[in-house]
Symmetry: C2
Subunit: 238 residues, 2 copies
């Protein structure tokens, strides 16, 4: 099966959580919007009235006749197919629950620089962004990081992964969260990381996986930038 | 199977999306935190280090040995069990995708009155709330409502439901969104509803379902109030 991923071609964003799973699994996929005229094709698809089950927004994945949107939903679908989650229903629901918690975290990370509106420039909501980012680094990052550290404490014996012995797509997503937060809030993360050794060890273990390490240094990995979900505005950091 | 639902006992909030499905299906369930000492029991459970797969936040559902959190995940689990979604994987993923889009909408509705921080009072972020709510009513409600109206246009032939002929849990959730938005933003909704006749017809069809109608007028339906996700601050409406 050749998967077709559709996402904004110039940012990591939410699409990156899907890219990481496809890359680490060595899956056959095309990042459609990054091909010549791919962006126009993505927009045409989204606006087409011929699409039976249109996505609300990218990312979405075409898998044969299926079109699946919502990042966590895409990963739920891919999980067993890429051997990135146990096949039992309780384990799949648990992995998905963790992924949805990460999705909430991602949305909050985005809103630090866009607390008023996604259609206004950062500069037009900078004052509000400072207040929201202060709460995010003081309250929300510690709360989420602490939660995942707690999960790792309970489950990682023998493997060091969120689901236990074997890696899952949620581990890749937690890696990506830590990467993104380090880019956006380096000072806050320098303060917060030492208390979460299991999460950082997981991050490092994921980064060292051969396929993922190759991907991260390839041109396919779009660098973090000031258009994505994670943005580095020093005035928003601690 | 007797389901045990855990959610804040004094608000509709995210738990209401689960309550509506359980109520309409006539399922055997207990709203645990609303029982005497139930709130304390919920907090103890969340903080217990003996829980293998702890929720990040309510709502969560106990179903036998399973503990499932994240509203959309709970509904994904309940869907086929309450006969509220077709059993095929593509249909389940599609329903879930719509539900996750509603979850994003719910989070945005919440942030209209708490754009800076969930741990500050509304009064301490009122200025920012006015800006965010203005964007929400002008841009976001129309975008989401328009999306679901478009889905209804494509799928509702013969039945008038989001998935087609048969009702699903997503229809109940769209009903609840419209209810909540009417409570919070009556002027904006009065302006926006006339252009979305299929969504409003769906809302009315859901409200008229015998079990649901009985629930909505019962004491089990917590009235909307100023502690929930949907709050009516006239200064935030159009």
């Amino acid at each position: 099966m050749r998967y077709e991923l559709y996402y904004w071609p110039s940012i990591q964003g939410r699409g990156e959580f899907v890219r990481l799973a496809l890359e680490d699994a060595g899956a056959d996929y095309v990042d459609e919007a990054r091909r010549p005229k791919g962006m126009a094709a993505m927009m045409r698809f989204m606006e087409s009235s011929a699409i039976d089950r249109p996505p609300f927004a990218p990312p979405f994945l075409k898998a044969g006749k299926l079109v699946i949107a919502q990042t966590a939903n895409i990963l739920f679908y891919l999980g067993p197919r890429l051997d990135f989650v146990p096949k039992s229903e309780p384990s799949r629901l648990w992995a998905h629950q963790l992924q949805l918690t990460i999705a909430d975290w991602v949305a909050e990370a985005h809103d630090t620089h866009h607390p008023i509106s996604g259609s206004l420039y950062y500069e037009d909501q900078k004052k509000e962004a400072k207040r929201r980012a202060a709460d995010f680094t003081a309250e929300r990052i510690p709360k989420y990081l602490g939660y995942f550290e707690r999960i790792l404490k309970r489950h990682s014996k023998g493997g060091g992964y969120l689901l236990g012995k074997k890696i899952s797509y949620v581990d890749l997503s937690l890696f990506q969260m830590i990467e993104g937060l380090r880019y956006a809030f380096p000072r806050a993360m320098a303060r917060l990381e030492p208390k979460r050794p299991l999460s950082i060890a997981l991050h490092d273990r994921v980064a060292a996986r051969p396929r993922l390490a190759a991907y991260l240094t390839s041109e396919r990995r779009i660098p973090f930038n000031q258009d994505g979900i994670f943005r580095h505005y020093p005035e928003l950091d601690e």
